[in-house]
């Protein structure tokens, strides 16, 4: 087949462009962590029947963007944990308890969500504790909690990149 000098670089450009896109050698925008896991060790607990209470703090970091709405799921993967209470966050915009299904109480899984349309106190930016989940724990095993951030939006209702982090309250 005839092959002109022109067509070679053109097709090479095509191949290079597609290869760059495919192998991701172009630096992609850094993706925030939408999943966070925390392991809370059962340090010093020897009685399998012991019942304790602790809390998991949930932080959402929206960086420079204002956080007006968020939704996440928290799941305890080990047996013997039960959610017993849900508290709001530290910023006035999210101080009230978030929305959740009452069936999450006495369960090991909850979906939490909140939004704020009023701008009386401004909206938080950066890292904010958006909720605190109180749990009852039985047994001597470490507890593992996984948080998945499902949605985050700014005041205009546009989805924004945000990350989630779980921490043991007071830990």
């Amino acid at each position: 087949m005839h092959c002109s000098l022109f067509q070679k670089p053109a097709w090479l450009c095509c191949l290079v462009a597609l290869t760059i896109v495919q192998d991701g050698s172009v630096q992609p925008a850094r993706q925030p962590a939408t999943v966070s896991e925390i392991r809370i060790p059962a340090t010093g607990v020897t009685d399998e029947k012991s019942v304790r209470f602790e809390a998991v703090d949930i932080f959402v970091d929206s960086a420079e963007q204002s956080l007006a709405a968020w939704q996440l799921e928290l799941t305890g993967t080990m047996p013997g944990v039960e959610i017993v209470g849900i508290e709001g966050g530290e910023h006035p915009a999210f101080r009230n308890p978030p929305y959740y299904d009452p069936r999450a109480i006495r369960n090991n899984r909850v979906i939490l969500a909140a939004f704020q349309v009023r701008d009386d106190h401004g909206l938080p930016t950066g890292r904010q504790r958006v909720a605190r989940v109180h749990v009852q724990v039985r047994g001597i095993e470490d507890r593992v909690w996984i948080g998945r951030l499902a949605a985050a939006a700014n005041a205009d209702g546009q989805s924004i990149a945000a990350s989630i982090r779980l921490e043991k309250s007071g830990g």
Partner: protein, 156 residues
């Protein structure tokens, strides 16, 4: 050669009225024998199938440019999505389907989440109820609908 006195044979599916009109307009019509038609067509086909470097080069140039353009366009689209294209919001004022209105999937992303409730809440606050979501079926869009959507979003 064509016999000028030969009666022209019209196409079979040509209406008689048109045949009469043609006859009255042109009298005896000189037709083109099918053999000549075939010869012309055969010659044209032969011309088209002959490999001509000049044409081939031009054709490849066109194909190369088209290929390059489409590849770059595809790459741009993929990169845009990787970089994160802002999601459309309700401010785009897209008409909602009946199912969306009924289910509360206001932004049409396939699920009811807090962003749907947030969208309706914003509209209520701004007084621009674009999406007449009536989750509680009372015929109006109110705060109760917002709460219902939010509850639906967190349902286990």
């Amino acid at each position: 050669m064509i016999d000028p006195d030969e009666e022209f044979v019209f196409d079979e599916d040509l209406p008689e009225s048109i045949r009469d009109a043609l006859r009255s307009q042109f009298g005896s019509v000189v037709g083109v024998p099918s053999a000549i038609d075939e010869a012309i067509l055969a010659d044209a086909r032969r011309q088209l199938t002959i490999a001509r470097p000049g044409i081939a080069r031009r054709r490849w140039k066109v194909l190369s440019i088209a290929g390059l353009s489409s590849s770059l366009a595809a790459a741009a689209v993929v990169l845009m999505f990787r970089a994160g294209v802002p999601n459309p919001t309700l401010d785009a004022q897209q008409p909602l389907s009946a199912a969306q209105l009924r289910d509360g999937d206001v932004d049409g992303n396939g699920r009811v989440d807090i962003l749907d409730a947030f969208a309706v809440a914003r509209q209520l606050q701004q007084g621009t109820a674009v999406a007449a979501v009536d989750a509680d079926g009372d015929g109006r869009t109110t705060q109760a609908d917002v709460d219902l959507l939010a509850q639906r979003a967190v349902m286990l």
